[in-house]
């Protein structure tokens, strides 16, 4: 068996690849549902209903998708430049931490200034966190996969320390959580009686902006050029190291904004379980979207739906919510395989 590169890749194939991957994943996971002894179709129907079947389900899915769009964009932008940022989780938390520190009373501004202020400072925090691995990569060729991944744990432990100490809310009756974001800094809700907040529109806007940057600007051109072929990019006069640094700021900044949104929009205060792995989920989102910024929206909505739907399904029948993790993981694997199949043709000799 051999793989032959295709000369041209038809559009329908590019578009159908993720669809086929999702179907494959659902078929594979049907086996697990059967193993749990429950009817497959009913389980998937309950999952679907739990994700989009009611007004509440839908707003929950959109709420869940909000940080995933942003961390998905963070991964998509970085991976485009072949900067392997696995540290979305850490950048998410420093963004959240910055918003908590500045937003729970230290700075008081009117809402129209306070919200942009928190978003920008959170983005800066996330961006500067990723700057450390980026500079180590530029100067000393340190593998950023290792450094970004390990920084996640450092940040998480640091947040833990702060929540047990300096940032601990004295009114929290001993729980490790911070004081609440002041009212001026809270992202307003956009659907009544739901948790959906302004962050959703911010995330959608970010996707459009990132898409426009990649498509219409010299900067986006340079990011893509460096990712495709750093040697050729350098030869044509692109500052490869400079591009890596700027990409790091953009990528880390997007993940940082995700953290701000969760603190100032969804939860209102900082805890250690603010993120159920949004940073890591962003990698899956970006992969499923084939790194396309607009496809990241669809991809995040889909994966968020799986998570929210699986929660609801597991309350109705005897299939654990962990099925969501398996579905997502299988989806990503099958997307990688199907993307490869769009680029190559399999020949049995």
């Amino acid at each position: 068996m051999r793989l032959e590169p295709r000369q041209t890749i038809p559009m329908w194939m590019v578009l159908s690849a993720p669809v086929m991957a999702i179907i494959t994943a659902l078929v594979v996971c049907a086996g697990l549902v059967m193993w749990a002894g429950e009817p497959v179709l009913q389980a998937y129907w309950l999952l679907f209903k739990g994700a989009v079947g009611t007004r509440f389900a839908l707003t929950e899915t959109l709420t869940r998708a909000t940080p995933m769009i942003l961390t998905g964009l963070a991964a998509a932008v970085a991976f485009r430049a072949k900067l392997w940022n696995i540290g979305g989780e850490g950048q998410f938390y420093v963004g959240a931490l910055m918003a908590t520190w500045l937003g729970s009373g230290m700075v008081v501004l009117p809402p129209w200034l306070m919200i942009p202020f928190l978003l920008i400072t959170g983005a800066l925090a996330g961006g500067f966190l990723l700057l450390v691995p980026a500079i180590l990569k530029n100067k000393l060729k340190v593998d950023e996969v290792v450094t970004t991944l390990l920084l996640n744990f450092i940040v998480l432990l640091f947040v833990n320390f702060l929540l047990e100490g300096p940032l601990k809310d004295p009114m929290s009756m001993g729980w490790p959580q911070s004081a609440s974001i002041i009212d001026e800094g809270v992202l307003p809700g956009i659907v009544s009686k739901s948790r959906l907040h302004l962050g959703f529109f911010i995330a959608m806007g970010a996707a459009v902006i990132v898409w426009a940057i990649m498509r219409f600007t010299v900067w986006g051109y340079e990011i893509r050029a460096v990712g495709f072929n750093a040697a050729a990019a350098a030869f044509s006069g692109i500052g490869v190291k400079r591009t890596v640094v700027l990409t790091a700021l953009l990528s880390g900044g997007l993940a940082g904004i995700a953290g701000v949104g969760e603190v100032a929009g969804t939860k209102g205060y900082l805890t250690l379980d603010l993120s159920p792995g949004f940073g890591y989920a962003g990698i899956a989102v970006a992969m499923l979207a084939a790194l396309h910024p607009l496809a990241v929206i669809a991809s995040a909505l889909f994966l968020a739906g799986i998570y929210v739907g699986a929660d609801s399904m597991s309350r109705a029948i005897n299939v654990p919510t962990y099925i969501a993790d398996v579905i997502v993981a299988t989806c990503v694997l099958s997307v990688l395989v199907s993307l490869m199949l769009t680029r190559f043709r399999v020949r049995l000799r």
Partner: protein
């Protein structure tokens, strides 16, 4: 003459491409068969089928009357076929003896029989006049010596048929002559040889019979005694090609200068020692040399990819401080890189995107970091037209273009900026004859317009045909440039191998 090798009706397809189309060839005992053809004519595919690296879709191979099982390199070795590839397959850190015996000994034997291996190698060296020190490490050998080791490897495995793929590509003329002597002595001892090349004069010199391949087919087969250069060239290309000739011009002022420039070997590009070079308007300065003698460092320097450790570079009398690729482009230096596919263009990006890779920050391509799509499209469409780039359109991915068209794209990008000097590093390597004539014509046009061109090449014929002056680089030192009219390939070859200093 006894027929010892018979290729019968070999066809091989890769997707839509027919690499070999019902090729039948024979080789007689004690014969040198030359296989002539352009890049992509199917020579290498055919030899890979013969050697068992590929399986033919149709047809078969017979050696000494026996069918060779397809797809088994071991069987080909066993039958007595030896191959010397264009890029040697030697382990640099092992000795000659170790390289020769590598892979011939059973994994299960307790000890190596070094002594008898040494005796066998010594006998072979003596019998065939292939002198190399068996204990020298390959890394310390010259290219010519390494080739001898490759031939010895085949002889050690008792090859009766030797295939040489473009054996002279890396040799100086003197080393080539030596190789031809060796081949003669191999023939005298009963070997048979297939000699693959696209250099006509060599083939006429060394072979008994010539087969010409074009687009996967044998288009001509003739005894060398009856062959002539012109008809072979036409058979190879399929049409008559007129080599572009430059009109005589008197060179103008010096535009670009290197003064006492040195680069240490630490940069990993090879060293340059005290190089002085002056490039004048309206001239092509050819740079000859066996690869690995400092060309890489010199090219990197002029491309802005590295800085001189000592000495200065000047353009129009101004010192180029802190050169970068971007600053060199802006100063008016056009750069045609050696590796066009992985340095010259980004294969995954479109023709249009590659067209503006050096001018992306200039108006009208972009303003304040925003691209002007209309301006870029207009410009790239114009250049595709003007430089006759064959592609599906500006939106096609560049990796799908042929080598000649990729080079035209790079030429379009470089020449459209009207550079004052041009660095052309191996600009026609691997191109077909038509594309070579096109690239040479464009370089000559640029010279007429007033550009000073530094042409780096390993092909002396190319340098002699195009250059006004030729300098030779050897071990990081540059010879005095010589007027092309007053030198021969032999003179240059002597300097290339370090045997004489330039006057």
């Amino acid at each position: 003459m006894k027929q010892i090798l018979n290729l019968s009706g070999i066809s091989k397809r890769f997707g839509d491409l027919v690499a070999n189309d019902a090729i039948s060839l024979t080789l007689g005992e004690g014969e040198v068969l030359a296989l002539l053809g352009e890049n992509g004519a199917g020579k290498t595919t055919l030899m890979n089928i013969l050697f068992g690296h590929y399986m033919a879709d149709e047809g078969y191979v017979e050696v000494f009357g026996e069918r060779l099982p397809p797809g088994q390199p071991e069987a080909a070795l066993e039958a007595g076929i030896g191959m010397v590839h264009q890029h040697f397959s030697l382990a640099d850190n092992l000795s000659v003896l170790e390289n020769v015996t590598l892979g011939t000994e059973s994994l299960w034997s307790w000890r190596q029989d070094v002594k008898s291996a040494r005796t066998k190698l010594a006998t072979l060296s003596k019998d065939f006049g292939l002198v190399v020190d068996p204990d020298a490490r390959v890394v310390d050998l010259s290219v010519g010596e390494r080739q001898r080791v490759e031939i010895l490897k085949a002889l050690y495995r008792e090859a009766k048929i030797l295939i040489l793929d473009e054996p002279t590509a890396v040799l100086t003329p003197q080393e080539s002559d030596k190789l031809f002597d060796t081949l003669r002595s191999l023939i005298d001892k009963g070997m048979s040889i297939i000699f693959i090349s696209h250099k006509l004069h060599e083939i006429l010199k060394v072979s008994d019979r010539i087969a010409v391949l074009r687009r996967g087919k044998v288009v001509a087969e003739t005894d060398t005694a009856n062959a002539d250069r012109a008809s072979l060239a036409e058979a190879m290309v399929g049409r008559t090609i007129h080599d572009p000739k430059g009109t005589p011009m008197s060179p103008g002022d010096t535009v670009f200068e290197l003064s006492d420039v040195s680069i240490t070997a630490d940069q990993g590009l090879g060293a340059l020692n005290n190089v002085n070079l002056a490039l004048r308007k309206h001239e092509i300065l050819g740079l000859a040399g066996v690869s690995g003698n400092g060309q890489q460092a010199l090219a990197a320097l002029i491309s802005g990819q590295t800085k001189p450790d000592l000495g200065v570079m000047t353009l129009f009398g101004e010192v180029l401080n802190n050169p970068t690729p971007a600053s060199m482009v802006h100063a008016g230096i056009g750069r045609i890189p050696e590796d066009r596919n992985s340095v010259g263009v980004i294969g995954e990006m479109t023709v249009r995107e590659n067209m503006i890779s050096e001018s992306r920050r200039d108006r009208p391509q972009s303003r304040f970091g925003l691209f002007d799509a209309a301006a870029i499209t207009k410009r790239s469409d114009q250049l595709i037209e003007k430089y006759d780039i064959r592609c599906q359109g500006a939106e096609e991915e560049t990796r799908l273009l042929s080598g000649g068209n990729v080079q035209k794209l790079i030429l379009a990008r470089v020449l459209d900026a009207n550079p004052a000097i041009i660095l052309a590093n191996q600009p026609v390597r691997g191109l077909d004859v038509g594309a070579i004539a096109y690239v040479h014509g464009k370089l000559l046009e640029a010279r007429e317009r007033g550009a000073g061109i530094l042409l780096i090449s390993e092909d002396l014929d190319e340098l002699l045909a195009l250059s006004d002056r030729i300098a030779v680089i050897y071990h990081g030192r540059l010879s005095q440039p010589m007027d092309t009219a007053n030198v021969t390939a032999r003179d240059i070859g002597l300097i290339m191998s370090g045997q004489t200093e330039a006057a």
